[in-house]
Symmetry: C2
Subunit: 548 residues, 2 copies
């Protein structure tokens, strides 16, 4: 209770630190539940106790303020515990993307200087491959996912549950400086080494407050409030599962963590636990809505934010037919991540018909509170908000990474003129909605015109036989580049359409004015599968190598 360093008459300088979010959560709920698959459930009161025990355990293992602890786990209550306990000690939580290659894993863990790893037993074989090359790691704590743990050559210091059991239920979390680094992870482009981004306590607290406001206090579609039941469907290693676990905890909602993503388990949890709010990449939504099991289940209470890649109107319509409320969330690893949500403004509610709503939710969206964005030309000058003029998208917000860790040269590309440069291009309309049209490097430059690869992909996605599509620019002697569309077809549709039929579809779209005439691809390839990156995004670099 006492704060001995303060003199009589001296005010308490309240820091914006993660500890305060947890205090708020416990005010609003102690009995509310945290669920992990069909294996574990605990109350917020018990979550709090486990957070204290985890910090106590890590402290006994030598973790101090400033140390980095890497976490390798599925979406779980343990991950949530780490989201709080590690930063609250003053240490840094590194979220490890276990889909990376062994070389990338080695690079990121060494670059972050992680001293301890908390790892799910399922990932022990992966870790064993690189253990000898991890120069900073001193100790490994294992989470036993299945009762029989695979034999491992790794030296394990202890079991996660035992570590908690052996610790006191109270840890004296300090009042940190709000600028203390809290979390870090690595973003992998298609070229070069992964880049380390990091976020402070202040940044995470402000991101949490603003995201909660955007989702709760503005009346629109798809709200997320304290009576919702939250289940992430974006891995927690991926930019703090978009920051929603912090929001859900602060709001004291019921939280459901699904572990390894298995469609049947996901659908079962949605039903049995009453999940109402999730977020995922289009691929996961596609997988769920096209699963036959989805038709057996009432999904009409489910609200899903889609991000990580463009939500097509086709997929949005399919989800809406199942009663699911879907809309777009936009952000990047560098932005904590949420920048915008594509929900209607309060004033639009009631005046949008189904089509207008569909066209709105696939936009990139309106900035959430405290976010500012612009599209700028090559000189950094803002372009008109006319819904057409395309430029690079730049941001300001209280939660943008200050720099790439130990990478001043890359940071110079990121921060220019006091704005974070996204590397995305797009336009802003008169109502303030942003539309990303492409990555700067994916824009197809043909005969002096820019063609948005996303426009082409969205256009072809309306064809009933098309499952996924990617547009790339291929070198052309006359035009510089010409667009090439590469598509996969829905199961059973292989006979329904061919490349020529798809090309006619695009030519028709040009006749209707949906795309410019020069954007109609000269060629459309139908393939069995599109190359993807480790986080499930289209790997256009690989496509350009293969098909360019």
């Amino acid at each position: 209770m006492g704060h001995e360093t303060l003199q009589v008459g001296e005010c308490y300088e309240y820091p914006l630190i993660i500890k305060k979010l947890l205090t708020t959560a416990l005010t609003y709920a102690t009995d509310q539940e945290i669920v992990y698959r069909d294996r574990f459930r605990c109350s917020y009161q018990q979550l709090n106790e486990r957070i204290h025990r985890l910090a106590g355990g890590l402290g006994r293992l030598g973790i101090q303020a400033g140390d980095t602890v890497a976490v390798f786990d599925y979406d779980s209550n343990r991950y949530l515990e780490s989201f709080f306990a590690i930063p609250m000690m003053g240490a840094v939580m590194q979220m490890v993307n276990w889909r990376l290659s062994a070389n990338q894993l080695e690079y990121t863990i060494n670059h972050a200087e992680a001293r301890l790893i908390i790892v799910n037993s399922d990932f022990l074989p992966l870790l064993a491959q690189i253990r000898e090359r991890l120069t900073w790691v001193e100790k490994i704590v294992v989470i036993i996912e299945n009762e029989q743990v695979a034999e491992s050559s790794l030296e394990i210091c202890c079991d996660y549950e035992q570590l908690l059991a052996d610790s006191a239920d109270h840890y004296n979390f300090p009042d940190l400086d709000e600028h203390t680094k809290a979390t870090t992870f690595y973003t992998t482009g298609t070229t070069g080494d992964p880049k380390g981004v990091h976020f402070s306590h202040r940044q995470l607290v402000l991101h949490t407050l603003s995201l909660a406001l955007a989702l709760g206090s503005y009346e629109t579609i798809g709200r997320f409030r304290s009576d919702d039941v939250y289940m992430p469907l974006t891995p927690m290693f991926h930019v703090h599962a978009w920051g929603l676990p912090y929001v859900a905890t602060m709001l004291a909602t019921k939280q459901v963590y699904p572990g390894k993503y298995e469609p049947e388990m996901l659908l079962r949890l949605i039903v049995t636990e009453g999940v109402t709010a999730s977020h995922c990449v289009p691929t996961i939504l596609q997988m769920l809505v096209s699963s036959p099991a989805a038709r057996q289940v009432d999904l009409s209470r489910w609200k899903v934010i889609i991000g990580g890649a463009k939500l097509s109107t086709g997929l949005a319509a399919a989800a809406q037919q199942l009663g699911i409320v879907v809309y777009t969330g936009y952000g990047m690893s560098e932005t904590c991540p949420v920048i915008s949500l594509s929900t209607p403004k309060t004033s639009m509610l009631g005046s949008l018909d189904d089509d207008a709503l569909l066209n709105l939710v696939v936009k990139t969206g309106l900035p959430i509170p405290l976010v500012e964005f612009e599209v700028v030309d090559l000189d950094g000058q803002p372009l008109p908000h006319d819904g057409q003029t395309v430029g690079e998208i730049v941001f300001r917000a209280p939660w943008l990474t200050r720099d790439y860790f130990k990478s001043p040269a890359k940071t110079r590309d990121l921060w220019r003129d006091g704005w974070l440069h996204s590397g995305d291009v797009g336009h802003i309309d008169a109502a303030g909605y942003l539309q990303v049209t492409d990555r700067i490097k994916d824009v197809i430059k043909t005969g002096g015109e820019w063609i948005s690869s996303l426009d082409l992909e969205n256009c072809i996605s309306r064809h009933p036989a098309v499952l996924e599509a990617a547009a790339i620019g291929v070198p052309d002697d006359k035009w510089g580049e010409r667009p090439l569309l590469i598509v996969t077809l829905k199961p059973g549709q292989e006979e329904a359409v061919d490349s020529k039929g798809l090309q006619e579809f695009m030519a028709d779209a040009a006749k209707q004015g949906l795309i410019p005439r020069y954007a109609v691809p000269d060629k459309i390839l139908v393939v069995a599968e599109l190359p993807k990156t480790s986080v499930g995004k289209l790997n256009k670099r690989m496509m350009r190598q293969e098909f360019g």
Copy 2:
């Protein structure tokens, strides 16, 4: 757009400043309305322009960063414009309580070192009384409330609307340090000089975010969200109208400002403008619910936060009978002001019957996000949360005044052990709800026991004939003090009950265990009117002098 002082690679240190709340508002609504009585309405876009024009005008009159501008007005769009324009320039907005005595007005304006006054023409006679003694004031800008302005001996520099008309619609608001002082006003106790409290941009932004979250993202009763229509019924000079104008603006709600409080105009605005959310002291609610006009009007969409004094269960029940959702908000001048709201937790919804809900909404409430409170003993040690053990209430939050302006001695009483000491006593129950039972100085000490004056007042308020009540301690040779109740009766009830009948009512309450037996007053006085302070609170100091 450019931010010339930042080098390539240097991130933008996003400050928590009031300008950013306005940017957010304009993102979500430009056409939404701001209404002043039946006299003026403008859009958010126009509000923004008027804010820029006001700053430009004040700049031409010589106002610079760090200067204080005093505002004397009714609740109006001009006040809202001042809430933004003055702090956004880096100047300090002083909210002047025009109910103060001439001597107190003189003291507070001089103490704050205000250089310019914006004054409603209705208050010119009041200002004329003290003008010569205002040592810092250089210029006076008048708001012409009625077409014919009273002749005034005051030297007026210009008319508010003319000042705006003569200014450019764009002012280059700087990016301030978030700790810059934004607002100030004075709190008057019943003794001593008024004390100056002040709040920084950071404090106001965080108060706005947290209050909006508490009112929007937690599912409970009486929510305030972007589709609400806001009308303050607490003067804007009173702790920023509880901070709600900032919340309403950030949420881009419709806002209605009623000017001078006249019951008929208030009810008319509620109906014609569709007001759904307000806040006021119990006296104003009492005035409205007992007004015959209230029975002609549908108030079932109206949500009202009650603060400033205890909401009695009797008044809450009367409001509920009209369909009004009422609950308690708690805070002080020193706390920006909101500390707590007495809404049910999400988990309680559906399980509370009418009586339980009534008993809950009259509590002091749960802390809003980021607020911490405790009740402590005389050594500053926290007391158990058992709903009974009474101690002094202490706070931590990111928005508590750092000190009393130029009053280090008074500040030493305020901040001790790193907690703000409220001067209120009360208890906290196991669910975390605070109940203020008294001001420390109003506790009635009898025979070694403490009797809460509020408990006695609440108890007698359940008597159907009682309008208002005050309990004080009067000196007693045997017991130290004995409780005295002073009550007013509802119109027409003068014959229905007398002092003896009221005493029997209290004795019955003691038999039922509602109050201790030693708390039954030996005497109950029925009077025509209770003495009040300038902000409408019971003036117990005056009662102790008169009746003690």
